[in-house]
Symmetry: C2
Subunit: 426 residues, 2 copies
């Protein structure tokens, strides 16, 4: 029998951030409520990968009624303004399924009218690019406005559709817009683009990985044919899990069941959906998403409170010399991207270089800044209590002031006291 | 704000099988040790979907060193006799990645010599079929021997290769064999087929979903280029999680990083691997697989003990009138398929029809028979203590005897006492 060195390390994995305040924008919308965590453990859902499969009768997790997966998917579809939903291996797998659908469409029934081109926003998530690459679509992007706002206008999409028409004589096979883009947290004009796509009769996907489950999202108002969702990013869920929501018009093609038969044995798998690998299993991520769903439905109604917190925090950060939010103002999402020259200056003189900032934050019980970056930082305060938000602000201010003094950088912090401090934060 | 009826149901999901003995063959190899479950909860790994991503520096989970994911994948590759491994969204996604690799190969550099055909065993898992369908491969199967053993011979693969050569002038693009097939638990002749594939220079995949992690598996002895593994099926792990293991020869093509650039913005995603959707996230399934790995490495060494248990149980079941194991003898895997005329007879007279058997078992604290089936049953005792194995046997015997008497069916059970009963099971 082979020996593997240091095997015991795997049995003792520690989570050093168990009690930290988490501010990583990919994480804050996915945090599982404590009560749900407790239930996952106590009900024994952490015992087994196939946790939803005990009473599976039809061979596909989305058809299971005990626990009520089928009902849940109907409710998810309704919650996001769609007609049908399937759970997927994350939002990336949902986007892949959309592109697969469009690939089949463009190569077959739509071949006269559509080209294998996707028009997408220039700050789309990388998974949109990977899904296009994996299915052989070419990406075309309208421009953004550049520094410091990086905004994308709906007109750019219309121009690109026209360009593609001119170049190929066909329409693009898909318009895919990221509802909120992952670089600056800008809310894209998904409704306006939707109207344009509808006018041209181009299928339209909105990637709501950063929004569906934290703020109100209704794909009907977007005029969208497809909505892709990340449960572990924005639905208080364990991962990997996502949802693909679509309308009746596209559901049949997207969730087309298997048509193949094997060779000699003549088997068929008529309940399975090839675009989502037959059956997407679900497992503990699905149980966690179901358990968190009442919480998610309730919290999106409190989005305005989150925006208030976000905007307060931006003002507080900008009281630090030279620190500036990038992206649109007023800001409409919890993903914040600051340029932070002061931390960049400190990093040049610090023995830990760019790593100093994330490490100083961790010392203060706050985790989630990308290690190594100090010139720009991305963070999110979604779901934090006011006390925690202030703790994050204080940490940044303290680090700036301490090192500024120590290194004689001459940076100044404007007085930050404001109504939230005075009123105890509420 | 929309209202969703009955939302509270999701917050109170109960696991009615929390304390049951589990005998579903897709589940028994995936059960997470209690100590690991405890740690998942206590270390806060159940708090967050992106649990492995806190210290991600390069943007791909498989490159993370804290926790030691990169090292773990090296160890997994070594453990299964391969050179490189990536984690995937389950074994189905691993098979898909193999077929994608072969699709690119067959359509490009191998286009002169290889056809878009996969030769697979006639009892392959449905996911092999779905992966072929999703990538446009045609499936070709050699026959099995039929009732009651359903065995597959290596020669059949050679014949099929020759047939394809004759028909197309090319070799098949892939030979894909299920190490142990999911219908009867037969161990396929993976080494012999591997030698044949090697002779013909046809790339060779072994799907070890039911074996890798429960019994010794070494892809080098199989002459395999690809090994696909299910963590939630056979590695004591939560799901969805799988592994794709390959050799240096194929690793570059299989794990080829993204080559695309987006349009206007000119972005590139050079660390991401399109065949596995860029980055396979990992999350709590990956943490659980890592935590269970020492246990898995240890337990495969005790496979002979499991076989002893399995064979004892088969003898005991066959003491029930007419009950017979299907599949090969001696049996070499924990997946057991019995034909059970006695239960079929009972079901015809029972008001719950075919459901009676699974329900009677559940009453006795044993879950995992497919609800509705009584003519044939599939089950597994993998990992159970002797006392539990006997409890399962007793349950079947009791149900048979009780109903046989009640319904005057005249079935008889041979005396079942044997050395294991007398010795207290050890």
């Amino acid at each position: 029998m082979m020996k593997i060195k240091g095997l015991q390390r795997y049995g003792q994995l520690k989570n050093p951030y168990r009690k930290a305040i988490i501010i990583n924008p990919i994480m804050t919308g996915g945090l599982v409520p404590e009560k749900v965590q407790q239930r996952l453990f106590e009900e024994g859902w952490t015992k087994i990968g196939y946790s939803v499969c005990f009473d599976c009768l039809e061979g596909r997790s989305s058809l299971i009624s005990k626990p009520p997966v089928r009902q849940f998917l109907n409710d998810v579809a309704e919650f996001f303004g769609g007609d049908r939903a399937e759970h997927t291996f994350g939002c990336r797998a949902a986007q892949f399924a959309v592109m697969k659908t469009m690939k089949n469409f463009v190569e077959n029934e739509g071949s006269k009218d559509y080209a294998k081109v996707v028009i997408t926003d220039p700050l789309c998530h990388y998974t949109t690019g990977i899904a296009a690459e994996a299915t052989g679509f070419r990406l075309v992007e309208p421009p953004h406005t550049g520094y410091p706002e990086y905004k994308v206008n709906a007109e750019g999409f219309q121009q690109k559709i026209e360009e593609i028409k001119k170049d190929t004589g066909k329409l693009p096979g898909l318009v895919a817009v990221t509802h909120v883009e992952p670089y600056y947290g800008n809310l894209n004009p998904v409704e306006e683009v939707g109207k344009i796509a509808e006018e041209y009769n181009v299928p339209y996907m909105v990637n709501a990985a950063y929004t569906a489950g934290v703020m109100p999202v209704d794909m009907r108002t977007f005029h969208a044919d497809f909505l892709t969702v990340s449960a572990h990013k924005s639905m208080a869920s364990l991962g990997p899990l996502g949802f693909l929501v679509t309308n009746y018009g596209w559901a049949k093609r997207t969730f087309q069941t298997s048509k193949m038969t094997t060779g000699w044995s003549g088997r068929a798998f008529g309940k399975k959906i090839p675009n989502i690998f037959g059956c997407s299993v679900g497992g503990i991520p699905l149980i966690s998403a179901m358990s968190s769903f009442p919480h998610v439905v309730e919290r999106v109604q409190r989005w305005e409170e989150e925006l208030e917190k976000i905007r307060w925090f931006i003002r507080q950060m900008e009281k630090l010399d030279d620190i500036m939010l990038l992206g649109e103002r007023p800001h409409k999402h919890h993903l914040l991207h600051f340029e932070t020259p002061i931390f960049w200056e400190i990093s040049k003189r610090h023995k830990r270089r760019g790593f100093f900032l994330a490490e100083e934050m961790i010392k203060r019980g706050i985790v989630g800044l990308h290690r190594g970056l100090s010139k720009h930082i991305k963070l999110s305060l979604y779901g934090l209590e006011w006390e925690e938000v202030k703790k994050v602000r204080d940490a940044f201010h303290e680090i700036a002031e301490d090192f500024s003094k120590k290194l004689n950088l001459g940076y100044a912090v404007t007085d930050v006291t404001d109504e939230h401090d005075e009123e105890g934060g509420e």
